[in-house]
Symmetry: C2
Subunit: 206 residues, 2 copies
């Protein structure tokens, strides 16, 4: 085990089903191991388009999609997380992601992200509606108006574009993903392995 | 925990990378839990074609493919399994799958499957060549000639087609997959959950 080192990067998309499960688990899993963590919001849509998909692969490939919803239900039950299948999928996460990236240096980013996930996957709410995001921000004791203005600023839009581009450049193709000393781990199922890789100092379990 | 019940079905494709890891793990994992297991060979190619893919998605989507090879290397290291990246992927598994389905009732099926996987993913050998399969069968103390004749019989070819069709009908879209009391689990990562689902009597961990 080592102490210190670059934090494990948790790359998440606010419309992604398995990112929901990961977002509710990751802080405890990292804390249990004493592993530093940084939350990195990005957009999956542009990465899907680069792979030739105009929609979520869960919609494009129905057998895969049917399985995912059942598996997600099982994963949520396993962890005791609330789940209601959303009436629309995927929801547009652009504005929520802009708020998230504007909050990259804020301590409330994880709590905001989890609230957006719960709205989408436990409460079946329209996370693309500004009013829904305003309600979430207000529930965190924040001032929604100025934060949405900041989210919509040109510089912040560009920051989200750049972070999404960085995801692709660093090998990310899906969400959630973990980057640890340049090593990529994809999926909620790889969370523990990613955190352990950090503890092993980048050499993992090899 | 329950004793008995229908065995857990392990659906595998002999050209599939993650099926390799699963095939080397599954018997011990099932035995440790006292869970009965049945090996079900099928062909992934026809199921990929039904999803619009003319090749493995690991080849069609290069970012996903690059990640898979690295992840596979890590999984093999983690379990202490030999691995050498094959010079061709995917290899044609048709004849090997015909041998496997002809051996569905034979106790040597798992050992044959593991030998084919090792040839493909640890020794970089051409598993579509009859001579390679003959060598594997001979190494198991079997008579290759009669077995290959049986594998190539019309009735056996039809049996493989029917089992592949059954896979699709029952919701399978990738490999490895596990079917437990009608519940589908996809991927080497879901093995333990599938086996535990059996122990819980079909109600899983819910």
């Amino acid at each position: 085990m080592r102490v210190g080192g670059a934090p494990v990067e948790f790359w998440f998309e606010l419309a992604s089903t398995y990112s929901y499960v990961a977002a509710l688990r990751v802080e405890e899993a990292a804390r249990d191991r004493g592993v530093p963590l940084v939350w990195k919001p990005f957009l999956l849509g542009p990465l899907f388009r680069r792979q030739g998909w105009s929609d979520s692969p869960f919609n494009l490939y129905p057998a895969r999609g049917r399985y995912m919803w059942r598996d997600l239900e099982r994963q949520c039950a396993r962890h005791g997380f609330p789940f209601r299948k959303p009436t629309r999928f995927p929801r547009n996460s652009l504005l929520a992601a802009r708020v998230a990236i504007a909050a990259s240096e804020e301590t409330w980013l994880p709590e905001f992200a989890r609230a957006v996930y719960r709205a989408n996957f436990a409460e079946d709410r329209e996370i693309e509606e500004p009013a829904v995001l305003e309600g979430i921000l207000a529930s965190l004791g924040l001032s929604p108006g100025p934060l949405l203005d900041r989210a919509r600023s040109d510089g912040n839009k560009e920051r989200l574009r750049a972070q999404t581009e960085e995801a692709w450049t660093r090998g990310i193709f899906g969400a959630p993903s973990f980057l640890v000393d340049g090593e990529l781990f994809w999926g909620n199922d790889r969370m523990e392995e990613a955190l352990d890789w950090h503890l092993a100092g980048g050499g993992g379990e090899r």
